[in-house]
């Protein structure tokens, strides 16, 4: 069974021409690559293209992977990072996003466990966090995406980014501070709105 093989063995089989190995490896790793690209770019189109490019690269130049340097997963995310950054450079999307609504925003599904008001609040929170993450400079965004959203360890993140763990930690710290600075005014405005409504009700 191919699914019992680890990533390195699958990669070797794939390079030898085994299509099933490619299929298993792709199905195992495409989700992480796609989500990373989506969270980095905020665009489904870019995420699809990047996912395809990453696996095409693996088919073409997979022999450059060195197991001594890290896992296949980290290798794929490193390649994905390069493609995303290149794509964003080309499309000049490195500027912070404004208030324009992106037509590629992924649909956020409401939870069935919550009441409609809580559901709405949660969806709004998620949307504001997503926008805040997308507005970060790329070097901070990538650590947030990898460490916070993809739940990848600092060590593996350092491998993917090709930097020291200390750098990952400091960037993450700085990124969280930036996110808080971006999210606080929105939360305060929300509080102010609810206070206004409350006082209006009292006045009425």
């Amino acid at each position: 069974m191919k699914s019992d093989l680890n990533d390195s063995e699958l990669l070797r089989s794939m390079l030898a021409g085994d299509e099933e190995a490619l299929t298993v490896l792709y199905r195992r790793r495409q989700g992480a690559v796609y989500r990373f690209a989506l969270q980095m770019s905020g665009s489904k189109t870019v995420a699809e293209d990047v996912t395809q490019e990453v696996f095409l690269f693996l088919m073409r130049d997979g022999q450059v992977f060195d197991p001594a340097k890290g896992s296949v997963s980290a290798f794929l995310l490193g390649v994905a990072r390069n493609y995303v950054l290149r794509r964003m450079r080309v499309e000049q999307q490195l500027m912070p996003l404004g208030d324009d609504v992106d037509d590629d925003v992924p649909v956020l599904h409401a939870s069935n466990d919550l009441c409609p008001l809580e559901d709405l609040t949660r969806a709004e929170t998620i949307e504001s966090v997503r926008r805040a993450v997308l507005s970060l400079p790329s070097k901070y965004r990538e650590v947030v995406v990898l460490c916070e959203l993809q739940d990848i360890s600092y060590g593996e993140t350092a491998e993917i980014l090709g930097c020291a763990i200390g750098t990952v930690r400091s960037r993450l710290h700085r990124a969280r501070a930036l996110l808080l600075a971006k999210l606080r005014p929105a939360a305060e405005a929300e509080d102010a709105d609810s206070a206004t409504v409350k006082s209006a009700r009292c006045f009425a």
């Binding site: 794939m14 030898a16 495409q30 796609y34 929170t125």
Partner: protein, 214 residues
Amino acid sequence: MNQRFENDEEMLTRGLEALASEMKDLEAPEHVEVKLLEAFRARKVVPISTRRWTSQRYWLAAVAAVLLIAMSVVALRWRSAEKPAETFAGRREPETPKVVPPQEETTRPVEYQAVNQPSPRSYPKRIRHPRVPSSENPRVASTRPSEIATDFIPLRYMNVANLQEGGQIVRVEVPRSALANFGLPVNMDRYNERVKADVLYGVDGLAHAIRFVK
């Protein structure tokens, strides 16, 4: 203040967790996988043995290139060794100014014959133009292989244009002191000796130029 900061941090962490959980099931669409598999089938991944063959082909190409270069060098050397012989055989005598009738062998001015012997390496052939003699620069020339002669020096009452009309050359002997009249150096030890000279007579019967022969 600290309490607020902790609240903010907690809020941020919750927000990030919520976003992560919302996106954790997202995957690339089906068509990406389909396209990849099509690309994989179309590409026909090169097995390792073929890659070895590719490197062998590179070696073969390199060896062939070296052989080709070696053959080219040999051919060039062979050709350059053959060329001088052909040149020597096919080389003509340098053209001379037609101031002398060709039937008089003794008066035919063959300039630079001694110094311009065709050497095996003299290639390609150079075209020589007829020279106009000048009194300021009497260059040495020879009429026969054993003789060395100056260029024709126009006499005082003639100009250079008259030398082009042709005429007749007469071998004479003049006193060595006559060399001084034409600005040539004279060996004072042999001042009284005579020296051979060719006098060029024009069609008008006048002496137009003179050259000294050794």
